[in-house]
Symmetry: C2
Amino acid sequence: METFSFEELFHLLDQNKLKELRAELMEMNVVDIAEFIDELEGKRIALVFRILPKDLSAGVFAYLDSDDQAKIVQSLTDAELGYLVEELYVDDAVDFLEEVPATVVKRVLANASPETRSAINTLLKFPPNSAGSVMTIEMVELHDRETVDQAIATIRSTGLDKETIYTCYVIDDERHLIGVVPLRQLILADPQTKVSELMQDDPIHVNTLEDQEVVADTAKKYDLLSVPVTDNEGRLVGIITIDDIVDIIEDENTEDFEKMALLQPSEHEYLDTGVFTLAKNRIVWLLILMVSATFTGKIIESFEGMLAAIAGLTACIPMLMDTGGNAGNQASTLIIRGLALGDITPKDYFKVLFKELRVSLLCGVTLAAANFLRMLIIGGSGGTPVFMVVCGAMLCAVVVAKCIGCTLPIVAKIVHLDPALMAGPMITTIVDAVTLAIYLSLAKAFLLK
Amino acid sequence: METFSFEELFHLLDQNKLKELRAELMEMNVVDIAEFIDELEGKRIALVFRILPKDLSAGVFAYLDSDDQAKIVQSLTDAELGYLVEELYVDDAVDFLEEVPATVVKRVLANASPETRSAINTLLKFPPNSAGSVMTIEMVELHDRETVDQAIATIRSTGLDKETIYTCYVIDDERHLIGVVPLRQLILADPQTKVSELMQDDPIHVNTLEDQEVVADTAKKYDLLSVPVTDNEGRLVGIITIDDIVDIIEDENTEDFEKMALLQPSEHEYLDTGVFTLAKNRIVWLLILMVSATFTGKIIESFEGMLAAIAGLTACIPMLMDTGGNAGNQASTLIIRGLALGDITPKDYFKVLFKELRVSLLCGVTLAAANFLRMLIIGGSGGTPVFMVVCGAMLCAVVVAKCIGCTLPIVAKIVHLDPALMAGPMITTIVDAVTLAIYLSLAKAFLLK
């Protein structure tokens, strides 16, 4: 990938050479122009946006940060704003309106044409993250009785306004979705063929209220360039295109990363999120887990006498806890990811558990043996009996941790909780208590006279 | 998304009603047919594959598990195998050949046409995960002197063999990539227009040796349906299509999840990976982290007398360690993800650190206060002085943990290590040692007479 240096552009801007700047910008990709504008501050944002040729401006606008979009809207006249709204794809307009203050929304809608306003309002009403909220209504619709020739004429006459023309959807007179034809097939077919002969019946589709994650999974599974969206009566109401699907995939992955660290998912990029929001997103789970650690405290308290009496026991607690937590975390990560990608389903549970049992025995024995060697070499305040108890506890901890780590995500899936919550921190808290209980019980059984 | 039930298909197969089964399969999507075949065992795999109509078989084959692909290849005659190889897209053929035993590869190549064989061999030679290894060579090439009419004729005559015809690449007589035209523009343009007038110059492209992650980032950034691949002389050698890019995105995310749990990335799905490989992928980091825990052990050992003397001190160790680890893990996860998505770059470090300082003070004070309350209510073997030391240590631990958590991924990025390694387990191990040192030093300073 080429990374752009905006030095020359900044230079032209500093010298107020706007004509040269405009010429340079016209040579660039809209994505790069947006990136350049995002690096500007204050009045320069609107200044540079306004020197763009009209046919580029909507494209650039769609890729800007929402802060910059709001600033630009404030600087536009009503006529300019009206033009911009009409040029934007409806789904891009909705994305932008969802992020800006209500006053901006009002002004934008006031300057849109009645059709655009009603389309935007419809999309704004769908629940967040539903298929309806991310779809666009700009798609190519064909009728089954048309010939290929007529279909291509339809596409030629309306294609400019459509977000994609590469997959055409076939509807009947009541707008029911009855088929799909890739443009590729239209181009390669005989001009007199009927669309109904070419189309694939009963196309894959999603409901407007379906979660966007399902949309992404559908597109991934069937390698689709766009997913059609239908209402409860099976009527075609919109499509979701692959560029938005790629964004959904990344959003869903980000959400999983955040959940696995027990963060409340955030809608904004890190640098754009306020300190209070960041703290609020983190504190709930930190508090819950801290309070849960009361159990580990109670376990230690009940063995306090023994820990004070036998040298070297306390020193090994962090190592056992950490190793148990890490072992459990590895298992749970693999299972959570497997569940998310559909490679693992709850019915595989016993296969998974049996696998983890064997893996954990292999890992546990290796770690216990390595640890025994380490203790013999480095020494420590305990003697061989303490070393043996520590290594026994290590083996048990790894086995128990891996079994808990593979079980909890699957249990979560079965009871319709998000498996991603059963990751590192949650597993660690549970495994720590179990590890400590095993370790201290072993010590009591074998070391206390 | 509709989930398929294969009950009826199994029923037909059990009754050996192959004609009816064939009719049912012909109504289905190739992806669903492949899913059905993947659920079969033994001889039935090849049996069902062989009743498929010829025009579906290559499509279905590309979506099968590699185990099933290998089984099917063994059952095919040389002529059938030759047909299959020619029908497969070259990148699908390469994906399959990379997974099967060398004997199968030999037989497949022996039955391919000389052109296909040479194309496959070329792709097989590129380093794993390079653009060259994932590209396909089936793309639409136009010349700049052609008119739209001629271009569409070229596409019509060669389009069937091309993996995508939606983005056409323009080359000069030395095959240098000089432009790009979306099919959309060709369809909408006047038939007599020259391709050179429509094409966008200097298209975005990647080198054959570029990492696939860069390919995915490029496609995401510019919303491309395919990314052209050029050699060192700028000649067009292949393209990477969006369906493969989506797979790359998911692979890269899986790799990040695995690295963040300190697992060696695995090339295969969990259920297809052997116990020894799974254990091997986990043991290295478990060993390293276990040995690193020697430090925490040494810290505790050096305070052993104090811990034995003051009741309640030891009991709080797990809670402090866990909370520190969790706090650090939250920060590092956000930063790692931000770095991966390009939202955060190393030059943002001081902004990030200042943000984390403020967030950690907010979280730390809240947690310390909550913990003080908790200790007052639940009690514990220590008294108020112990409680105060624990809460002071809690505040310090959270602040230090968040600062370490946001610093290490950025440092890793700067020294060209993978930031994903600086996640949960690694951060926990480091934060644990620091937390313990702070806690026990505070206790020594304020509680030891």
